[in-house]
């Protein structure tokens, strides 16, 4: 059972934040040429889709969208016991020389992003890779920093941040809970 909960972002503020992030992605890359937006499974994929559609609305440009599942690149595979479920990876275009924006829901230790960088390197050599995260909760264990952040929050190690998206969770919200739930 989760302990005390608080809402970090509700549906409206989450939407507003994503729109700002979409603008920042376009600004950072001087437009949408050669851009590809890649979401990390799972909720990064839904966030990436929304960023892509916001960019389409505002810029009239359709940016290709990819998905990465980093499970097979994790640095803790030898210790996690039962094998985690592997989701689909799809990179629809050649990323050589392109500008890639990796999208994830929560940035914490940085280990997921490390794995994503390794996986992307197996697909090609982009001109630039940027990182956009909805929530940066601190607590980095690797020298990795985001380029675009939806919201920064202070958290303690025992706490847990959940990003909920309509497509998977029936509502949009970001929730901070006190106790880490055991899976």
């Amino acid at each position: 059972m989760p302990g005390k909960q608080s809402t970090v972002l509700d549906a409206r503020s989450l939407d507003r934040t994503l729109r700002r992030m979409a603008d920042e992605i376009v600004e950072l890359n001087d437009g949408t040429d050669d851009l590809i937006i890649v979401g990390i499974q799972r909720r990064g994929v839904q966030l990436a889709a929304r960023l892509v559609s916001t960019i389409a609305e505002r810029e009239g440009a359709s940016v290709p969208q990819g998905a990465l599942d980093i499970t097979l690149y994790r640095d803790d595979l030898q210790t996690v016991g039962p094998r985690p479920v592997v989701g689909p990876t799809s990179i629809p275009v050649d990323i050589d020389g392109r500008r890639v924006v990796i999208v994830d829901d929560v940035l914490y230790t940085g280990r997921t992003v490390r794995a994503a960088l390794d996986e992307l390197a197996d697909f090609g050599r982009p001109k630039r890779i940027a990182l956009a995260v909805l929530i940066d909760r601190g607590g980095r264990e690797l020298p990795i920093q985001p380029d675009i952040v939806g919201k920064r929050i202070e958290t303690a190690p025992g706490q847990r941040v959940d990003v909920l998206v309509e497509e998977l969770d029936q509502r949009d919200a970001v929730i901070l809970s006190d106790r880490e739930e055991t899976a």
Binding site: D76, Q78, R83, V85, P88, R111, D122, A183
Partner: protein, 323 residues
């Protein structure tokens, strides 16, 4: 957060001991592995540092190469041991061979052996994970799995499908693994072949039996056509290859007469003009090469699922993986 998978156990010896859920888990896990073989760099670091020995005591091209690709695409280190040119030829027993390999700190063994039960015998005696790559006339589980995956790709489901296994069911480990896998996933299974090449108690297997190939074609959604091992003829099971082709060979003409699409599978290697005609093997309903492609993905899935972490550390990871 990653959901934990129900474990398969230490070894993959056959499909008979598995539940339908476990089989579905392997098929689901194989899906994302298909994509890796389409990449420019066909490799993920998942089994980095793991050592796998392919112990092939019986001739095999497709299965051995498929396993080797699966292992290499997961970054495992592999060693191939055959029966010729190894100490097996000098009379070393199976257990001694395996124990010596294990003393060199290996993690997994893939074994192909002419004796039914060889994989299980080994699995009970060594710590490493054992994967059965075909043991005598017992089972060939990864072939069964890749057949199931190919059927599921095409029809979108296994439950309710009508699948007929054609040919030498008596001597076929492929037939047995298919039979178990298909039944556990809710397919209807039939066999068709000369009575001399069907098991004695075939009626007790809970399958439909067809004596005429035309009846099988009229009934089935898919035919899995087994290779007729040519030595069966000299052993007197069938009168002649021509006779076999005339009575049980799957031809274009026969399929056309059925006026419905029947998917064609074959585990290979094919005897064209014996159990299957060329225009069927290369025809529009043949998924024989898809089977080969799926073989690598299914074997990657099995290696990944069996390679699990150390159980004593699993508890610590239970709270979910920190990101």
């Amino acid at each position: 957060m990653s959901a934990a998978l129900a474990p398969l156990g230490k070894d993959l010896l056959g499909l008979e001991p598995l539940t339908g859920e476990q089989i579905t888990l392997i098929l689901d896990t194989a899906e994302p592995f298909k994509e890796i073989s389409e990449r420019a760099i066909k490799k993920v670091p998942t089994l980095r540092g793991a050592t796998i020995v392919n112990l092939f005591f019986e001739a095999s091209t497709r299965t051995r190469i498929s396993f080797e690709f699966a292992e290499k695409r997961l970054s495992a280190d592999t060693v191939n041991v055959g029966s010729t040119g190894s100490s097996v030829q000098k009379g070393e027993t199976l257990v001694d061979t395996a124990r010596n390999l294990e003393a060199m700190r290996i993690d997994m063994v893939v074994i192909r052996h002419s004796a039914s039960g060889a994989a299980q015998f080994l699995a009970h005696r060594i710590e490493s994970n054992v994967i059965n790559a075909g043991d005598g006339t017992h089972e060939h589980p990864t072939q069964g799995l890749l057949d199931l995956l190919t059927l599921r790709d095409h029809f979108g489901r296994i439950g309710g499908l009508k699948v007929c296994i054609v040919g030498d069911v008596l001597h076929s480990r492929v037939a047995r693994s298919n039979l178990w896998g298909l039944k556990k996933l809710g397919a209807e299974v039939a066999v068709c072949g000369p009575r001399s090449l069907l098991p004695n108690a075939v009626d007790e297997l809970g399958v439909v039996v067809f004596d005429r190939i035309d009846d099988a074609i009229a009934w089935a959604d898919a035919l899995n056509i087994l290779r007729l091992q040519l030595e069966r003829m000299t052993a007197g099971y069938i009168p002649s290859l021509r006779e076999y082709n005339r009575v049980f060979g799957v031809s274009r003409e026969r399929l056309d007469r059925a006026k419905r699409d029947v998917l064609i599978l074959h585990p290979g290697p094919m005897n064209r003009g014996v159990e299957i005609d060329s225009d069927v093997a290369d025809g529009p309903f043949s998924v024989i090469l898809d089977q080969v492609t799926n073989g690598v993905a299914v074997r990657m899935a099995v290696l990944y699922l069996l390679s699990g972490g150390k159980p004593e550390l699993a508890e610590a990871a239970k709270g979910g993986v920190s990101r």
